[in-house]
C-alpha cells in the first residue's frame, strides 16, 4: 500500500524530493494500451530534468539506460520519475495533464508542495495518503540519518549496511558523495530513489566529525 510513502527526513531535505508514479487500473478501461501512455509519461519526464526514472519491472536509470526502460514498458508497468525541485516537478505534471493520457498520476511530496504542483498543473487533487509513522519495536531501526536513505526505497532494497559502508567510504575519500549516492540508488529497482537528495545527505554526513 505504501511504495513511495513513508520517506523519512527533515522537511528541508524532503522539499526537494518529489516523486511521481503512474499506472493504469488493472481490469479497468484504462488498462489496455496503457503501456504506450506510460511511455509518453516518461518521455515528458525526460524533458524536465528528472534525477531518476524507472519502471518497477525493469530497473532505473542509475543501473540501466533510459532506452532499455522505455522499450520494456507494458500495460502492467508502474513507471516513476523523480525531480529535485518544484519547478521541474510542476512543469512535468502540467504537461502530463495537458497530454490527457487518462492514466493515474501520483506524487509523493510534502503536502504543501503537492498542492502547489496540483495548482500549477490545473489538477483538483483526488486522494491523499498519510504516513502515520513507524510503530512497534523501533529500537530495531537504524539511526535516523540512515533511515533517510533507506526509506527512499519503498521495497527496502537499500541496505542500511550499504549506506553505512558508503558513508565510511565518502568520509575516507575513496568515493565521491555523488558516486556513493548512485551506488546506493542502483539497489532501488523501480527508480524512486532521489540521488540528488542522497548526495546532499552524504555531503552533510561526511562533513560531520
Amino acid at each position: 500500500m505504501t511504495h513511495t510513502l513513508h520517506r523519512y527526513g527533515k522537511v528541508d531535505t524532503l522539499n526537494d524530493d518529489l516523486v511521481f508514479l503512474s499506472m493504469s487500473a488493472k481490469g479497468f478501461a484504462n488498462e489496455k494500451g496503457s503501456g504506450e501512455k506510460m511511455k509518453k509519461t516518461l518521455e515528458i519526464a525526460q524533458k524536465h530534468n528528472p534525477v531518476n526514472i524507472g519502471d518497477m519491472k525493469t530497473g532505473n536509470i542509475l543501473a540501466i539506460t533510459v532506452d532499455e526502460i522505455m522499450k520494456k514498458v507494458v500495460d502492467t508497468s508502474i513507471v516513476h520519475a523523480v525531480f529535485a525541485n518544484i519547478e521541474d516537478a510542476a512543469a512535468f505534471a502540467k504537461e502530463v495533464k495537458e497530454a490527457e493520457l487518462g492514466i493515474s498520476l501520483v506524487i509523493s511530496a510534502p503536502f504543501d508542495r503537492a498542492w502547489k504542483i496540483a495548482d500549477t498543473a490545473g489538477c483538483r487533487g483526488h486522494t491523499i495518503e498519510y504516513s502515520g509513522g513507524i510503530w512497534g519495536k523501533t529500537e530495531k531501526l537504524p539511526a535516523p540519518e540512515i533511515l533517510e536513505f533507506t526509506t527512499m526505497c519503498g521495497h527496502g532494497m537499500i541496505s542500511r549496511y550499504l549506506v553505512e559502508d558508503v558513508i565510511t567510504r565518502v568520509k575516507a575519500g575513496t568515493i565521491s558523495a555523488k558516486g556513493g549516492s548512485v551506488e546506493i540508488g542502483k539497489q532501488c529497482c523501480c527508480g524512486i530513489y532521489n540521488p540528488a537528495r542522497g548526495e546532499k545527505l552524504l555531503k552533510a554526513l561526511a562533513a560531520k566529525k
Partner: protein, 705 residues
C-alpha cells in the same frame, strides 16, 4: 562445461581443469590404501532406519555406521542405488562400477533390504528404530497437462529409464518424441536411440541457452543424430490406428521473469504436428511420498525440512536428497547425506563428527606446475565415436591415460596454494579439489583418492557423473556483504567462504542484482512452498500470481481516481509489517491482522496478505507460512470513518505485541476546501503524521465520481 569446473580460474585462461576426469582417474586406480586410516567406532546400540538406497541414503548410512550405529536401508526396487541405478543409463555409469562402490559402503556394516517399500514411519519406530532418514528420491514423472497424454505410447521419462535400467524390455518403435530439456530428456533420447529408434526428436519450450542439460550433453545428443526442436511446447496428443500424433505450438521468449530467464510465450497460429510411435514426457519428477508418513510437504510435493539440519516436522525423522530438493545432482544428494548423518548422530548423543583424515598429505607445496602451463590445452577424456555408441550401452567416456592425467593436473594454478581456489568451495560435499589435483601431479594417486574419499563414499560414480550445482564459487572477498538488507550473508571462517543464513534470507534478490560478486557466485533458485512466499513478499520484481501486481500490495490509492475505493466516509488503512527494512515473519503479521479484524476492518481484495488468510473474519493467516520471514507484508483494508479511532487503538495494541515494526498509513479524499476529514481523528488519537505523503492528482480516466 561442468558448473564445478566453471569455478576454475583456468576456464578464463586455457580451459578449466578436467576435474571430473581426474577424479575418475584416481578412483579407477583404487588400491584401498585409504582404508588404513579408516575407523569404525564401537556399537552405540542405536538403530537407524534409512528409506532409500540412493546417494543420500547410502552416504548417510555409511557415515552413521562408521560412528557405531546399526543401519538398515529399505529399498523399494529390486536393486540398490536409487537414481544412480534406475535413472542413469549404463553408457554414463556402468552398473558394475556402481555395484563396487555400494559393496564398499555395505562393508562398514549396512543391511540393505531390497523390494521393501516403507509406507509408515510409525511402523519403523514400532520396529525399535531410534531415528529415520528419508531419502526416497524423486521417481514420479510429472504430467504434461495436455489432452491425450493418457494414450498408450505416452510414457514418462523416469519410468522409461527405470524400466530399461532394471532390465525390462521396452519397445520404442521407430519414431520417438521426447518432451523436456533436462538430463532425463537427454538420457531418454540417447537410450531410445540405443534401443533401436530410427528418429529421435527432443522438443523443448525455451531456447538452447536456457536448456538445463549441459552443453556437452546437448552436443553429444546432436552428434548421435538426435534432433532438438527449441521453442516449442506440446498442446495435444491424439491416437489414430496406433499412430500417435503430437501437436505443438511454437514459442517466443518474452519478458524476463523473477528467475532472470525470459518467459516462453506461445506464438498464435504456429501449431505444427508430427507422427510418432512413442512420446516420452521428461519435464520433471517429484517424490512419491506415502500419505501415511503424515509429514509436512511443500507445494512441489517435496518433504519440508529445516535447511540447516534436514529435520522434518516429526521428531527423530530427517529427510534429504531429491525427496527434499526435487531432482538434483548426485553430489548434492551426497552432501545431504553427510548433513543428515551429522544431525542424526548429534540427536543420538554423538558429536556429529563424520570427517576423518585418510592421508597425511595435506599441503600444496608447489603452487604452479610447469612454466608453460598457460600454453597447454585442456585434456578431456576420449570417447567412443557416435557410430560406436549406437545400438549398445557401452560406457561412452574412456577415462584418462596416466600421462594425460599428470599433464592435466599440472595445468592447475592451485590458486593461493589451494586456499583461495574457487573449485575448493564449489563442491557441495566439500572435497578439497586443488589438493587432490596437486597430488595427482605429484604422482601420489592413492593420497589423491584419500582426499576425495574423506568427503564422499562414491568417488568412482562421481568420476563419471559429477555435476555440481556450484552453490559457491565464492572466494570470500566480502564485496557483497553490505548489499544484503537483512545482513544474512556471513563469513564461514572454517571454509573461508561466505554463507547465506537461510533463516534470515528473505529471497529479495538484492545480492544477485547488486552484481558485485567477481565470480558470479549467487544463483537464483525458485523456492518451494511455503518458502516461496519469501520471494513474493520481498523481491519487488516478483509478481504476485493473484494480483498481477509487481511488489507487495495492491494499487490502493494509486488508482483510486479510477477505482473509487476510498474516501467519502470510507478510510483506507494499511500497516506494512516489517517496514522499514526490519523484516517480519507471519506470526507478526497475524498479530496485526487479528487486531484489525476485531475492530471490523474489511481486508483488501487482491492483497497478498488477504490472499494468505484462512479466515478473513478473524484475520488468521495460513499456518503453513507463519514461520516464513519476509521483507515486509502489507496489511490493508477499509474501515468506516467512525471506526477509525478503534483501528488506531488496535494498531497500538498490536505494536506492543510484535517483534518487529510496522509503518502505518491512512487514505481519504480531500474536501473542496482541501480539508481532510480523517485528520481530526488522527490528531485526537495522537497519531503524528509525516508532513509528506502521497497525493493522487486525479488524472486517471474514466474518473470515478
Amino acid at each position: 562445461m561442468r558448473i564445478n569446473e566453471d569455478a576454475c580460474l583456468c576456464s578464463k585462461l586455457n580451459g578449466a581443469i578436467s576435474i571430473k576426469a581426474l577424479k575418475r582417474f584416481v578412483a579407477d586406480r583404487d588400491t584401498g590404501k585409504w582404508k588404513q586410516f579408516c575407523k569404525k567406532l564401537p556399537s552405540t546400540g542405536k538403530k537407524i532406519a534409512i528409506v532409500g538406497s540412493g546417494p543420500a541414503g547410502l552416504t548417510a548410512g555409511y557415515y552413521l555406521a562408521k560412528l557405531g550405529h546399526s543401519i538398515t536401508v529399505f529399498e523399494a526396487f529390486s536393486k540398490p542405488g536409487g537414481m544412480m541405478r534406475v535413472g542413469i543409463p549404463d553408457y554414463r555409469l556402468p552398473k558394475d562400477i556402481l555395484d563396487t562402490e555400494i559393496k564398499e559402503i555395505q562393508s562398514v556394516g549396512i543391511d540393505i533390504k531390497l523390494n521393501t517399500k516403507i509406507v509408515s514411519i510409525d511402523w519403523l519406530f514400532g520396529q525399535g528404530y531410534d531415528a529415520a532418514f528419508l531419502a526416497l528420491g524423486a521417481h514420479r514423472g510429472m504430467k504434461l497437462g495436455v489432452e491425450g497424454e493418457d494414450n498408450s505410447g505416452v510414457i514418462d521419462g523416469a519410468a522409461f529409464l527405470r524400466d530399461v535400467n532394471l532390465g525390462v524390455k521396452v519397445n520404442v518403435g521407430d519414431r520417438v518424441a521426447i518432451i523436456g530439456g533436462g538430463n532425463t530428456a537427454i538420457d531418454s533420447a540417447h537410450t531410445a536411440l540405443r534401443l533401436g529408434a530410427k528418429q529421435v526428436q527432443i522438443i523443448y519450450r525455451r531456447s538452447k541457452v536456457e536448456m538445463p542439460a549441459s552443453d556437452e550433453e546437448v552436443e553429444a545428443a546432436i552428434e548421435e543424430g538426435i534432433e532438438i526442436t527449441f521453442l516449442a511446447v506440446p498442446v495435444k496428443i491424439s491416437n489414430h490406428n496406433d499412430q500417435l500424433n503430437l501437436t505443438c505450438n511454437r514459442m517466443e521468449l518474452g519478458e524476463i521473469d523473477a528467475s532472470g530467464r525470459r518467459r516462453p510465450v506461445p506464438i498464435k497460429g504456429s501449431e505444427f504436428s508430427m507422427n510418432c510411435d512413442v512420446i516420452i514426457a521428461a519435464i520433471g519428477q517429484t517424490p512419491d511420498i506415502p500419505d501415511q508418513f503424515n509429514l509436512k510437504t511443500t507445494s512441489n510435493n517435496t518433504l519440508q525440512v529445516d535447511y540447516n539440519t534436514l529435520a522434518t516436522n516429526r521428531q527423530g525423522v530427517w529427510a534429504g536428497g531429491d525427496a527434499v530438493t526435487g531432482p538434483a545432482s548426485v553430489i548434492e544428494a551426497i552432501a545431504a547425506g553427510r548433513k543428515a548423518a551429522i544431525s542424526i548422530d548429534k540427536y543420538l548423543g554423538g558429536e556429529g563428527v563424520i570427517d576423518e583424515q585418510l592421508t597425511k598429505s595435506r599441503q600444496i607445496v608447489a603452487p604452479v606446475g610447469e612454466e608453460d602451463f598457460v600454453d597447454r590445452a585442456r585434456v578431456d577424456m576420449s570417447c567412443l565415436t557416435p557410430g560406436q555408441r549406437v545400438g549398445n550401452f557401452d560406457e561412452m567416456e574412456l577415462g584418462l591415460y596416466e600421462l594425460s592425467a599428470v599433464e592435466e593436473s599440472r595445468r592447475c594454478l592451485h590458486c593461493g596454494d589451494g586456499i583461495t581456489a574457487r573449485c575448493r568451495y564449489a563442491c557441495p560435499a566439500g572435497i578439497n579439489v586443488p589438493l587432490y589435483i596437486y597430488l595427482i601431479g605429484e604422482g601420489r594417486y592413492e593420497d589423491a583418492l584419500a582426499i576425495i574419499r574423506e568427503k564422499v563414499p562414491f568417488p568412482k560414480v562421481l568420476g563419471r557423473i559429477c555435476t555440481s550445482p556450484c552453490e559457491e564459487a565464492c572466494i570470500g572477498c566480502g564485496l557483497c556483504l553490505p548489499y544484503c538488507p537483512m545482513s544474512a550473508i556471513g563469513v564461514d571462517a572454517a571454509a573461508q567462504v561466505l554463507r547465506i543464513d537461510q533463516e534470515l534470507c528473505v529471497e529479495c534478490g538484492s545480492c544477485l542484482r547488486a552484481a558485485v560478486c567477481p565470480t558470479d557466485a549467487f544463483i537464483y533458485e525458485a523456492q518451494p512452498w511455503p518458502r516461496s512466499v519469501r520471494e513474493a513478499f520481498s523481491n519487488p520484481l516478483a509478481e504476485h500470481k493473484e494480483t498481477r501486481i509487481p511488489g507487495r500490495g495492491t494499487e490502493e490509492m494509486k488508482t483510486n481516481d479510477v477505482r473509487g475505493l476510498y474516501g467519502r466516509g470510507t478510510i483506507g488503512v494499511g500497516a506494512e509489517v516489517g517496514r522499514p527494512g526490519v523484516s517480519c515473519n507471519f506470526h507478526d503479521v497475524e498479530t496485526v491482522t487479528t487486531a484489525f479484524a476485531k475492530v471490523g476492518m474489511k481486508f483488501a481484495e487482491g492483497n497478498p496478505v488477504t490472499a494468505n488468510m484462512v479466515d478473513r473474519a478473524t484475520g488468521k493467516m495460513n499456518p503453513e507460512i507463519l514461520d516464513e520471514r519476509v521483507m515486509s507484508a502489507i496489511v490493508e483494508g477499509t474501515i468506516p470513518v467512525e471506526k477509525l479511532a478503534d483501528v488506531i487503538k488496535a494498531a497500538k495494541e498490536a505494536a506492543s505485541q510484535i517483534d518487529t515494526v510496522f509503518s502505518l498509513e491512512f487514505i481519504d479524499r480531500p474536501e473542496a476546501d482541501r480539508s481532510v476529514p480523517m485528520e481530526k481523528i488522527l490528531k485526537k488519537q495522537g497519531v503524528a503524521c509525516y508532513p509528506n505523503g502521497k497525493f493522487n492528482l486525479g488524472l486517471g480516466r474514466p474518473l470515478v465520481q
